[in-house]
Amino acid sequence: MRIALFVTCLADTLFPDVGKATVRLLERLGHDVTFAQAQTCCGQMHMNTGYLHQALPLVRRYVEVFEDCEVIVVPSGSCAGSVRHQHAMVARRYGDEALARRAEAVAARTYELSQLLTDVLGMEDVGAYYPHRVTYHPTCHSLRLLGVGDRPLRLLRRVAGLDLAVLGDAETCCGFGGTFAVKNPDVSTAMLADKMQNVLATGAEVCTAGDSSCLMHIGGGLSRLRAGPRAVHLAEILASTADDRGDLFVGDQP
């Protein structure tokens, strides 16, 4: 299948290994991955901070870049959620019904990585090998906006060598929330402290999730405390194979 990658501005700029892992994984599974250099950002940060008007050109750009693609994959639950649940709303708010319809059509073909793998490609065992103790944090937008349910867990359970640890209070927000983390830094940190406590209680070496943004928050907190566990994106785990001897994709090392 020909799959267009929307890498997201965050992964593109700060976590390119997440994009590379997505490409590597899908190509290993026999698919053809394309990357349009014209892509930028889904506009979620603008929307969720209230700058809906400034998000409008970004919605238009996303639609124009991706509307000819059969299937689009996003290694982010919140960016996929924004495309699915916010793009058409923004277009309608500013009276562009034609753009809203086009946005809905593209959104229907836009999938978060675990959705693409399980629902579109019908896979759970992607042939990955990752010999580490891992705990999974279901990010809020993956869970409640997109409804990915246990898809990431089903994928992780089939990873050879992986020791999956159940995260306590897993469905509670980590406290990232986009600009919430800087507008309400104290509350955000209080939420992060509880999330880190739960991560540490699992004894996992790695905390994974489907969003680089939440992982940047959780990983940034764990790193500040020199707590041990690292934040690694789901794509990087699923891309790892026995040939890597389990150490190629163990987190974004700049």
């Binding site: 700060l14 390119p16 409640r144 790193s223």
Partner: protein, 488 residues
């Protein structure tokens, strides 16, 4: 785009819809109170578990939620008609209906009605609406003492405190604190009073009993008002409401106009949704329904005060009006990770938590509660828990947009608005975006050991508690171009 018609909002200087500090400042103080955080974590986790259990046992819960949502949407769409029908029915059955534009009018009306009876004391059943308008203060100014009879409201009143939760106004207090308040403030409290819940309730019961029996005027709120029959309804757990609603000669009910529902049959839906969502019970212990005045039984004079106080302004916002669907169950507070850590006082309004963050700014005007729509990580737990499916995260985003749009009318844009406009301009063009990425790579000099430990403001708010990643030497798009060329 919705049309904002500019209806009057709740007036300042009266009632409790506005805090004295922005949320993020008040929250910082609350987060430092370790007793508060322990009390809240314990109380909210208990009530969350109870709610989850009783909601889980209903196979048609989702259908009930949808029915609740639909009834409320219908009520709001024809609010004018249903309110007039309610007035007609209440009047025909011997009650008197008063219309109050805002808190000032409502307080003047109620104070006048009480003064007209000659009573100097009233008993009150739990009512957030009367907290909203600051009725107790207005009565006190007229020399009338209001006795709160709900246990938690009594604790708040005796403690000279403010409610911090819709359902459990004293959720921020633990039993040791409650015992201290009773010993200090309750006339004739037994000095040997323990902090055993049974002891504390017995003390409150003894204290309240005299008030119920002496009261000539009762004041209540309402959970529902049925338009077709003129029936008012209050659901409660303690029985204090039942006494306030039945023992006094005069009953005055203050009700927000959004509480009207079209039909008697609609109660079937809400009486299932509300107790399970609020107290986590299958059924609440007391449901009191009354219709006008019944000769020889219960209050012989009944006044219904219909309060606007910014509700019509909320109704005028086609997106925002969903907040008026709220049935005050407080399920959204109990599941909110922000509320659980800050408590209700940080929100500055009698309506705290997620629903308060979308309701209070609409009642007062967004600019007077501008920090509240940002008091959320948009995690969506509130939407999932709401028994009438209010899409609170989308409402928060909508109100943030209203705030940004109102700020944009000022001559000088905020630094944030400048940054956002610049970011939009950059990201609307791949060339500008790639150039910005290259510029951002200069941030690599800040890195030590693969992490950035300190960034300049405003990003210092990030590095106050978390490391930031060092920009990698090569972006994804540069890697792709190097590896795969520029073909799409």
């Amino acid at each position: 785009m919705s049309t904002y018609l500019g209806m009057p909002t709740a007036p300042p200087g009266v009632g409790h819809l506005r805090g004295t500090q922005p949320f993020e400042i008040a929250a910082r103080r609350a987060l430092g109170n370790s007793q508060l955080r322990r009390n809240l974590a314990k109380a909210t986790s208990t009530i969350r578990a109870r709610r989850a259990a009783v909601v889980g046992e209903l196979p048609d819960w989702e259908a009930l939620r949808e029915a609740g949502r639909a009834i409320k949407a219908e009520s709001m769409a024809h609010l004018d008609r249903y309110l007039e029908q309610l007035e007609e029915q209440v009047t025909a059955r011997g009650g008197t209906v008063h219309w109050a534009r805002d808190a000032i009018e409502a307080n003047r009306l109620v104070t006048g009605l009480v003064a007209g009876t000659g009573a100097r004391e009233v008993v009150k059943s739990k009512s957030i609406t009367t907290d909203e308008i600051g009725l107790n203060e207005a009565l006190a100014a007229a020399g009338i003492t209001a006795h709160e009879t709900d246990l938690a409201e009594l604790i708040v009143q005796l403690g000279h405190d403010r409610p911090s939760h819709i359902l459990v106004p004293a959720i921020h207090r633990n039993r040791a604190e409650i015992r201290d308040i009773f010993l200090r403030e309750m006339p004739g409290a037994d000095p040997g009073l323990t902090d055993d819940p049974a002891d504390l309730t017995a003390a409150a019961r003894a204290h309240l009993r005299q008030r119920f029996l002496a009261a000539r005027v009762g004041i209540s709120g309402a959970n529902f008002a049925v338009a077709e029959s003129g029936t008012l309804g209050v659901v409660e757990s303690e029985g204090n409401g039942r006494m306030c609603l039945t023992l006094p000669e005069t009953l005055i009910t203050v009700m927000g106009i959004e509480k009207v529902i079209p039909r008697w049959q609609d109660l079937e839906v809400f009486l299932q949704l509300l107790p399970r969502s609020s107290t986590g019970e299958r059924m609440n212990p007391y449901t009191t329904l009354w219709t006008g005045v019944t000769p020889g039984d219960g209050p012989q004079r009944f006044h219904l005060v219909l309060l606007d106080n910014g509700r019509t302004a909320a109704l005028a916002d086609q997106v925002g009006r969903q907040a008026l669907h709220c049935i005050r169950c407080s399920a959204c507070l109990n599941v909110c990770p922000v509320y659980e850590r800050t408590g209700g006082h940080a929100y500055g309004s009698v309506y705290p938590g997620p629903i308060g963050a979308v309701l209070s700014p609409q009642l007062t005007g967004v600019e007077e509660n501008a920090s509240l729509p940002y008091a959320s990580s948009l995690c969506g737990a509130c939407y999932q828990a709401c028994p009438v499916k209010i899409d609170i995260p989308s409402l928060l985003v909508h109100l943030r947009a209203r705030h940004v749009e109102e700020r944009a009318r000022r001559p000088v844009p905020s630094p944030e608005a400048v940054t956002m406009a610049a970011a939009s301009w950059v990201m609307a063009s791949p060339a500008r975006y790639a150039a910005a990425q290259r510029a951002g790579r200069a941030g690599r000099v800040l890195g030590r050991g693969g992490r950035i430990r300190r960034l300049p403001p405003p990003l210092s708010a990030w590095t106050s508690a978390r490391d930031a990643p060092v920009p990698p030497p090569e972006t994804f798009r540069d890697w792709w171009r190097r590896e795969r060329g520029t073909a799409p």
